[in-house]
């Protein structure tokens, strides 16, 4: 880009809840390596092309070490935000150590394990939908179903009481919201959350259960091939946060996208075998996916013909990349049968989302149960009245009003 070109604010302001900002197409076409200003005032480099985002996310030179002294701060607070916190550095970033961590934890998120949880997830979905129906239309699908379901599931996997979910929600929100909370509020929430998880692990040591954290403890310390105490603690916090906002928001967005043009919903009613590819397509099509993934560059490298100096903070917009015409035919159209659909909603490479089989299974089960129980489901407001949640690292809608 030329020096006199205006520097874009990031996140790019956008009032439309489900539509992408017009800038995406222009950036992909004319300025694939763009200078942007973050909420902190710091500069970063935004990538929007499919090939670039895919390549960078899988390249170990682009690290997650956003706590480096010269890395861009995402939010106005000195060390605010999940990505730049000290905690993020406790999980190994790369190499064998990361792979070791990933495999110890990843065994809990295999496709087979997730498939085995389907009946339990379907039962939770049925109960939540029954409750929503009892309260009468219109209902808020996000508060009634989208939010509680993934929370119940992740609490169960971690052996933490779902009754504490309001506290988890608050802690997750403070960690993932880049603008809404003061530094004091974020620090206090982190300290409370840390203490809670610490007490929880102490209790699990005394009385192990059959949950993921008990098993991580049972695997022993690093000398026995397991994780250190602090790594287990941060893993527990990270999984709880990750299991909260991401799928919880995606359920509401998925249903909104499918109902925004009701012929999509009707197509799925007529042919539920399309549920799997439809879920993938809503993940690709999600224009309100949040901040994207930040990376810190440890050595000079080149992306799309532009040299990026060492110390550059890069923001990968997977959502913009997922609308790249060079990677997806008719990228601006939602195609419920699209296959293959190598979208980047869960990232790419060795750091791609650990919980993606869980998220996929939850989204598929929710959609199956909704189509079966509430075939007449529809949005209770015009699409233009849906509102985005502001400031969240993971994008979402404030409410999803529905009737049936």
């Amino acid at each position: 880009m030329s020096v006199d070109e205006q520097v874009l604010s990031y996140p790019i302001p956008n009032d439309a809840a489900l539509e992408p900002p017009a800038e995406w197409a222009r950036l992909r076409d004319k300025c694939p390596v763009a200078h942007v200003t973050l909420p902190s005032g710091d500069r970063a480099t935004l990538l929007t092309r499919y090939q670039d985002v895919k390549q960078v996310l899988a390249d170990p030179r682009f690290t997650r070490l956003l706590n480096a002294p010269d890395a861009a701060r995402l939010s106005a607070d000195e060390d605010g935000g999940l990505f730049s916190s000290e905690m993020a550095a406790i999980i190994p970033d790369g190499g064998e150590e990361h792979q070791h961590w990933r495999r110890l934890v990843g065994k809990w998120f295999t496709a087979k394990r997730m498939s085995a949880m389907r009946p339990q997830m379907a039962q939770i979905a049925e109960d939540l939908i029954d409750d929503m129906v009892k309260r009468g239309a219109p209902g808020d699908l996000k508060a009634s179903l989208g939010f509680p379901l993934p929370v119940y599931v992740i609490c169960d996997m971690l052996g933490v009481p779902a009754a504490d979910r309001d506290r988890f929600s608050y802690w997750s929100d403070t960690l993932l919201n880049l603008t809404r909370y003061s530094k004091a509020e974020v620090d206090a929430a982190q300290a409370e959350f840390f203490q809670y998880m610490s007490d929880h692990l102490a209790a699990k040591r005394r009385q192990p259960g059959e949950d993921l954290l008990s098993e991580l403890i049972a695997a022993g310390g690093p000398e026995d091939g397991g994780l250190s105490e602090i790594q287990i603690l941060v893993t527990g916090m990270a999984l709880l946060v990750a299991g909260h906002e991401t799928t919880a928001n995606m359920i509401g967005k998925m249903v909104s996208m499918l109902l925004a043009d009701r012929s999509r919903w009707e197509r799925l009613l007529a042919d539920p075998s399309l549920i799997r590819t439809a879920v993938e397509e809503t993940l690709r099509f999600d224009a309100n996916a949040g901040f994207g993934l930040p990376r810190y560059l440890k050595e000079e490298t080149e992306v799309s013909g532009t040299v990026l100096p060492r110390g550059t903070t890069v923001i990968c917009s997977m959502a913009a990349a997922n609308r790249d015409e060079s990677a997806f035919d008719h990228a601006e159209e939602m195609d419920l049968t699209r296959s293959p659909n190598p979208h980047l909603a869960f990232g790419s490479g060795s750091h791609s989302c650990l919980g993606q089989a869980l998220a996929r299974t939850e989204l598929q089960v929710v959609l199956e149960v909704l189509l079966r129980k509430l075939p007449t489901l529809d949005l209770a407001v015009p699409v233009t009245e849906l509102e985005r949640v502001e400031g969240l690292a993971v994008g979402g809608l404030r409410t999803v009003p529905v009737r049936w």
Binding site: A58, G106, F109, A111, G349, S352, Q356, A357, T361
Partner: protein, 66 residues
């Protein structure tokens, strides 16, 4: 069709198992890919191609016979 998988690259995302469960599995102790059928039946080919195309770690390689 002949399939090879790269265990070192595999990140345990499980997409291959969700798409082609008769051809791929994951080890219970670390989530890494297990190839059940290196030369699957014709009926599996479409699913296998899809699994290879969407693998986030590009850990599935296909060689197709003419």
């Amino acid at each position: 069709m002949k399939i090879t998988v790269d265990e070192a690259k595999c990140c345990g995302a499980g997409q291959c198992v969700l798409i082609a469960p008769e051809v791929f599995d994951q080890r219970d102790d670390d989530g890494i890919v297990v190839l059940l059928q290196p030369e699957p039946d014709e009926a599996q080919h479409a699913a296998v191609r899809e699994a290879a195309a969407v693998c986030p770690a590009a850990a599935i390689d296909l060689s197709e016979h003419p």
